[in-house]
Amino acid sequence: MPEVAIVGAGPAGLSAASVLVEHDVKPVLIDEGKRPGGQAYRSPAPGLDLPIDALLGTESGKYRRLHARFAAIAERLDYRPETLAWNVQEGKVFTVSGPRIVTIGYDALILAPGAVDRLLPIKGWTLPGVYTLGGAQVFLKDQGCLVGRRIAFCGSSPLLYLAALQCRMMGAVVVAVLDTTSFSRKIGAVPMLLASPRTFARGLSYLAKLRRSGIPVRHGVRSLEVAGAKGVEGVIYRESSGEVRAVACDAVALGFGLRPEFQLAELAGCELRYDAIFRQWFPVCDLDGRSAKGLYAAGDGAAIGGADAAELSGQLAAYAVLEDRGLPVPQARLRGLRRGLGRLRRFQRGLASAFAWPHAWLADTPDDVIVCRCEGVTAGDVRRVAHAEFGGSEINRLKALSRLGMGRCQGRFCALSAAELSAAALGRPHADFGRLRGQAPVKPLPMAARLEP
């Protein structure tokens, strides 16, 4: 039986593990989290009694099924929680857990690390009290905490609506949901969204619930900024009508869709491709997740698709691993999985249009706005380096000359915006500006960590 390693224990990684276990393969499941579930099905800390069914609504059945499936196969897995996979090289995954660096060899590696919020730098976004949408959900689902008492949900993402409802349910005052995509653009995306009527209906129900609760929902918001001296005091924005408004709040949850965590895939040898609809980079793989030899990508880290798509793609990746080793796989089932996954990914392309990344904003980002928060690089710095003779003609060069992306996050949160900003400044297409070349460690590695002999 092949040695299989899986990175990520969200819906994609757990589904892959479950298929492998059914076929008598015992995979190593590497989870950066403390408990399985990933982001979508994150479980509360032990002893914390959260109303999961209410929080997840229609999705709570899936949450319970996934966790039950993990419990059923836990004995037949090599599950390694709180373990960061920080590099993949020469057929080995380098992990760190506490003070120990452990290498894991593999015949096949399934990468299912998920995605993080895509951020767009707006005035005030680095003030204490501004969180990513996903971050606000981690507070809530992991610890039952809220990021503030009065929260504004800003950006453009279907998660804006879900996270706002969840926080409200837990006692937060949601002062506004400010969506930067216009309502007419959403209507325009409806034909694509009908690729998955059930998911579409779920989205509409979130919107209806927000409206029934009297929470102001604004579409087509522009000139969004966070105001405050030492922390968040409010948000200021321009309505689609042109009117400028201000709302007081003590926290902001900000998100513009998701960005796949492709760094490990790149280090492992996957090619990356630019997607013009999402305006970002993804690992190259087929629908089953085959990328490079022995390498498979699944879940939102492979293509943005959401939790349902992640479950399907995790199963497909596991079947691909088995099939590529000449083991029998149920072809009819595979066809069904592929059909379902294709439909959900088409739906996501509709979502990318209904909740658009407002890249044109970056042409007008004020010079004093910080773009790279780790290194304190401003929009003005980026433009100066982009325009300089022998300057930042592509994103890696921009990094070398400006320090952008050299800090703790390694450009995971700023590189896409910086490339848009520079490309706009130079009048060049975004895709031409390239992407940051991956370097280990994908997340900070404790200096005192020692290689396990």
Partner: protein, 386 residues
């Protein structure tokens, strides 16, 4: 197709090429630089950033000392900052044998006026109480550090302001001698014709030398490095263990930049310089043995690059043995960053005056003719078995 006629053509837009262009313009020569990629993006831009005079073979000291003056005056010359910091350089010894080597070096370097300070264990603790293990050291007060990343571009802009033609993303595809002049074909239709040719092509320099029947046993290797997140500043000098097991400095904003031997592999043809994770792990361990206070910080990024090495760990610098008008400056074996302005100055003197007051003995390309090679002891120390 256009022909660009110039007195001096330089292949390679790294620090060597850019400083040479700058100094030649100061002497009134017309200059064109052809860089296949981006200015200063290879060894010039990814190195550790040490501006270290001490610990060089004494034959390199006159060149190194001349170079340092231009680092000290960098801002005045280029109008830009290279984050030059006159931190001093501390070379630490872990064994009595290493202490003896430090003492011997200090005596040999004495005539060059480096002002090296030899420190015993007590003095070391008093000045740098965070240092563990070291039992002796040599401190070189005139040494320093700079951020290499934007340095070559600043020099290129200074050379350009002085009238040099600096062309990046222009690959020289063929070099010929035509009627006593050099003719360089490129991949963008431009042909460069010159009286003098400078080979500053780094790890790719044999491509130029071989066009004139010369070569050196140059190979590419990489300086595996890593950096921590910013931590409160406490390490003022750049520090290097004598055995090369740990090399580090802390930049003013707080990040600690770390390197260590053995050096890593890199590939000049595919332009790849991978960092072996096990090397990173080994260097992390060495670092906190030397400075236990760093045990609680994190490695946030690793990198390497493509540097040209020669087995005797000395550069090729000077006139060609086969073709008058051709000058070489390559193979700086991971210690060329500091030398760069000196190299540019010396080449400008060789080209304009026909001679330089700086001794260049031992740097001739002819030392390798007929396949002769000497492996330096330093070479064995700094590389894995090849």
């Amino acid at each position: 197709m256009s022909i660009l006629r110039t007195e001096v053509a330089i292949v390679g837009g790294g620090l060597m090429g850019c400083w040479t262009a700058y100094f030649l313009r100061r002497r009134g020569r017309s200059v064109a630089v052809a860089e296949k990629g981006l200015i200063g993006a290879q060894a010039s831009g990814v190195n550790f950033g040490n501006l270290r005079i001490q610990a060089r073979v004494v034959g390199e000291l006159p060149l190194s000392i001349r170079a340092q003056e231009y680092w000290e005056r960098f801002e005045e010359i280029t109008g830009e900052s290279c984050e030059f910091a006159p931190t001093g350089h501390l070379r630490i010894a872990f064994t009595p044998e290493e202490v003896a080597t430090l003492e011997k070096y200090a005596t040999e370097a004495e005539p060059y006026g480096l002002g090296l300070q030899l420190l015993d264990r007590m003095e070391l603790r008093r000045r740098w109480p965070w240092l563990a293990l070291a039992i002796g050291a040599s401190f070189s007060p005139r040494d320093g550090a700079a951020n290499p990343r934007g340095t070559a571009t600043a020099v290129a802009r200074a050379a350009q302001r002085n009238g040099a033609r600096i062309m990046d993303q222009l690959k020289v595809t063929a070099i010929e001698s035509v009627a006593g002049r050099f003719r360089l074909s490129t991949d963008r239709g431009v042909t460069i014709e010159s009286d003098v040719l400078v080979n500053a092509a780094g790890a790719w320099a044999n491509d130029v030398a071989e066009a004139f029947g010369e070569s050196a046993p140059i190979f590419a290797a990489g300086p595996a490095q890593f950096v921590t997140e910013p931590v409160p500043h406490f390490i003022d000098p750049a520090v290097q263990a004598m055995d090369g097991s740990t090399i580090f400095r802390q930049v003013p904003r707080g990040n600690v930049v770390v390197a260590g031997y053995p050096r890593g592999p890199s590939d000049a043809r595919s332009n790849r310089a991978p960092v072996a994770p096990l090397k990173t792990a080994a260097h992390m361990a060495r670092l906190i043995e030397a400075v236990p206070a760093l045990a609680s910080c994190h490695v946030i990024r690793v990198w390497s690059g493509i540097e040209g090495y020669l087995p005797d760990m000395l550069p090729v610098l000077g006139a060609s043995e086969t073709r008058p008008g051709l000058f070489h400056a390559f193979g700086f074996c991971g210690h060329g960053f500091q030398l760069a302005p000196g190299v540019g100055l010396v080449l400008s003197e060789l080209i304009v005056d026909g001679a330089t007051p700086t001794p260049l003995r031992g740097f001739e390309i002819s030392r390798f003719s007929g396949g002769r090679q000497t492996e330096a002891e330093q070479f064995r120390r700094e590389f894995d078995a090849r």
